[in-house]
């Protein structure tokens, strides 16, 4: 299905070439034993992920802890080694070095979960923002100050923030600083890894609003990674669901949430508590038993089959399903896509 000129895993009907493409991306880590000696065993944190992100699109990635979503983010900005290909505007970036790599990172910026540990505590916010501006040549001399002012204004911080240090700000304000810093080099793509999960809900809403607003105004392409399914749904055009290093479902947001194809997606959605007592009182949960297996010992066949309520011995435990287009724009890696619904899975 990887025909020349056809870009798999894009939104149905999107004719423009994707801005960011991942092709069979894999990241693995060697494991140390209790004495600190490297073992042969490998954790395959990201185990063959292929996807495309169109210009101006928000792709959400959800999954539970350990599913590889953060490692995937780090691979995209080239913070960890990987195999496979990452293409930006059709150019493979996996071999880039030094100046070319710097130029790539200028176009693809990252926003981290914990803005406090990702901001240098000894620099004022002004210097934190001025540094990447000067380094990238985005502005020079006194124009740098003007640009810092613009950035602060863009993320809704007062101008006097420039002379203060990160510790003087609250969590939400720090995340605004983190965003301003990512935007300082005028990137095309922002990879946001759990950008709101450390924040209180009222502040979280401020940052979500800001992200959506900035994306519209600046035409940003966004990869939004989070474990909170409602938050991801709110900001994303398309959503990818990850399980044990692989994407098991990828579709437009409404399809994923209303018509999930993969049984894992179905159970994940049923586990999310809904802030409505009337809904909750009649709701039936499909509680998955046990926990996700260790990525050190990925199950044979479909990696979800030991926990899957609709798994059959054959082919689920013997053959690994590929991420295939089940309906236009809707992909799932399941031998029985769409057969799992809240109703069938309960019985």
């Amino acid at each position: 299905m990887n025909g020349a000129g056809v870009h798999p895993f894009t939104a149905g009907g999107t004719s423009s070439a994707p801005l960011l493409e991942l092709d069979d991306l894999r990241v693995s880590f060697r494991v140390k034993d209790s004495l600190g000696v490297l073992r042969r065993a490998e954790v395959r944190a990201v185990d063959g992920v292929s996807l495309c992100v169109a210009r101006g699109e928000t792709l959400g990635l959800v999954g539970e802890s350990g599913c590889g979503k953060s490692t995937l983010a780090q691979a995209i900005v080239r913070l960890v080694d990987f195999t496979g290909a990452i293409r930006l505007d059709g150019h493979d970036v996996s071999g880039l070095r030094r100046r070319e790599l710097t130029a790539y990172r200028r176009r693809v910026q990252m926003v981290f979960q914990d803005p406090y540990s990702s901001l240098n505590p000894r620099l004022t916010v002004g210097r934190l923002l001025a540094e990447p501006i000067q380094f990238s040549g985005e502005a020079k001399g006194s124009a740098v100050f003007g640009r810092v002012g613009e950035l602060l204004d863009l993320v809704g911080l007062p101008l006097d923030a420039a002379s203060r240090y990160p510790h003087e700000f609250s969590g939400g304000q720090r995340q605004r600083i983190g965003l301003a810093r990512a935007l300082s080099v005028a990137p095309d793509v922002i990879i946001a890894d759990e950008p709101v999960s450390a924040l209180d809900v009222s502040v979280q809403a401020q940052i979500i609003n800001l992200l959506i607003d900035l994306q519209r105004r600046l035409g940003l392409t966004l990869v939004f990674i989070a474990h909170d399914l409602a938050v991801v749904r709110h900001v994303s055009d398309r959503v990818g669901v990850m399980y044990l290093g692989k994407i098991v479902e990828l579709a437009p947001a409404d399809d994923v949430y209303l018509r999930p194809l993969h049984p894992y997606t179905v159970s994940l959605l049923s586990a999310v508590p809904v802030p409505d007592p009337d809904v909750e009182s009649v709701r039936q949960r499909i509680v998955l038993s046990g926990e996700a297996p260790s990525p050190l010992a990925v199950p044979t066949g479909c990696r979800f089959h030991p926990r899957c309520p609709i798994a059959k011995p054959d082919p689920c435990s013997t053959r690994e399903p590929e991420l295939a287009e089940i309906a236009p724009g809707r992909f799932a890696a399941c031998h029985f896509p769409g057969e799992a619904t809240a109703v069938t899975m309960r019985s």
């Binding site: 209180d200 809403a205 900001v235």
Partner: protein, 334 residues
């Protein structure tokens, strides 16, 4: 008689920068078999309230006013030895992070045993058997072998189960759970909430659930208390609070959460500004600075918790606000 009766609880902390007024006159009660939520954001004073109940406040904290009664017995000012009789026996607590609240140097079995040693006559083989029973009861497979393992050999969800086993070892009347599922993934959260619900039904325990997650509250608790700036700003049945919130903070909080069914990419009604640092008890409403409904009176006077709409004192629904949103029962917005 209520299992837990907190009245006018006021807690202050001494810090280098002066006093922090963390809890300012909290009143709430939990009855037998009742599940009560205390909802609020970080710094609202919800955890401090819980720690005060168990006499676990830091040495820098003082209970400046108020009373805490457990089945009629006053807990404020109770000497340490007497408090130890209450803790783990009448009232138990489940904390957010089991890794830091379980002893890393003791096996899970030994930690459950410790509670039995302190509060029951079970010894020797009988105690051992009870330990295994408890581990089984909280849904940990292979209970006997697991009882000899240490916390680091357990996964996050299993550790939380182990901590629940420690908490229910003596069948306490009241369980306080402080963000018991916040550190867990949604599927694990669903498992743990299900476990708590079944234990509460079985033992007819009261539950005080402290959380920031309104989704968890909606599915777990009958009664909801919304806390902000050290005060309870709205209280009532969960259904009532979610259906017709009248306090601007509760409204803002509910509007802040993206829903699973709503329109995507629309502006969420975030609450501007940030929670206050309570260096002193504010003269007026603690929410006043962030409130869209603020009137002059809010700045100078503290609103009391008054019944909402035609509710006369039954406390089905009460809010502390001078200029609340109309409740659904007033014919206002549903």
């Amino acid at each position: 008689m209520a299992l837990l009766d907190i009245e006018g609880l006021t807690v202050r902390f001494r810090t280098l920068r002066g006093e922090v007024h963390a809890v300012n006159g909290v009143t709430l009660s939990v009855d037998e078999g009742e599940t009560v939520a205390l909802v609020g954001e970080s710094g609202s004073g919800k955890s401090v309230t819980a720690l005060a109940v168990l006499g676990l406040l830091a040495p820098t904290a003082t209970i400046a006013a108020g009373s805490i009664r457990s089945a009629g017995r006053e807990l404020v000012g109770l000497p340490g030895a007497k408090m130890r009789e209450v803790r783990g026996r009448a009232i138990s607590m489940v904390f957010q992070d089991p890794m830091t609240s379980l002893n890393p140097l003791m096996t899970i079995g030994a930690q459950i045993r410790e509670v039995l040693d302190a509060h029951t006559d079970l010894r020797g083989r009988a105690a051992k058997q009870r330990v295994v029973e408890l581990i089984e009861q909280v849904g940990i497979p292979d209970a006997e072998r697991r009882s000899f393992q240490y916390p680091h050999q357990f996964s996050g969800g299993m550790r939380q189960r182990a901590m629940i086993a420690v908490a229910i070892a003596c069948k306490p009347r009241l369980l306080i759970a402080d963000e018991p599922t916040t550190a867990l993934d949604v599927t694990m959260q669903a498992q743990i909430l299900g476990l708590l619900a079944s234990l509460i039904a079985e033992y007819r325990m009261g539950l005080l659930l402290i959380t920031h997650d309104l989704g968890v509250v909606a599915g777990t608790c009958e009664t909801t208390n919304v806390m902000y700036g050290g005060r309870i700003v709205e209280t009532g049945t969960t259904r009532e609070i979610f259906r017709s919130p009248t306090h601007p903070y509760t409204r803002g909080l509910l509007g802040s959460i993206p829903t699973m069914g709503g329109e995507r990419k629309v502006k969420l009604t975030a609450i501007d500004g940030q929670p206050p640092v309570l260096r002193s008890t504010p003269q007026g409403c603690t929410f006043e600075a962030r409130c869209a409904n603020r009137i002059e009176r809010c700045v100078v006077e503290v609103p009391s918790l008054d019944p909402v709409g035609d509710d006369t004192g039954s406390m089905v629904h009460a809010a502390a606000c001078f200029n609340p949103w109309p409740s659904a029962r007033d014919g206002g917005v549903a």
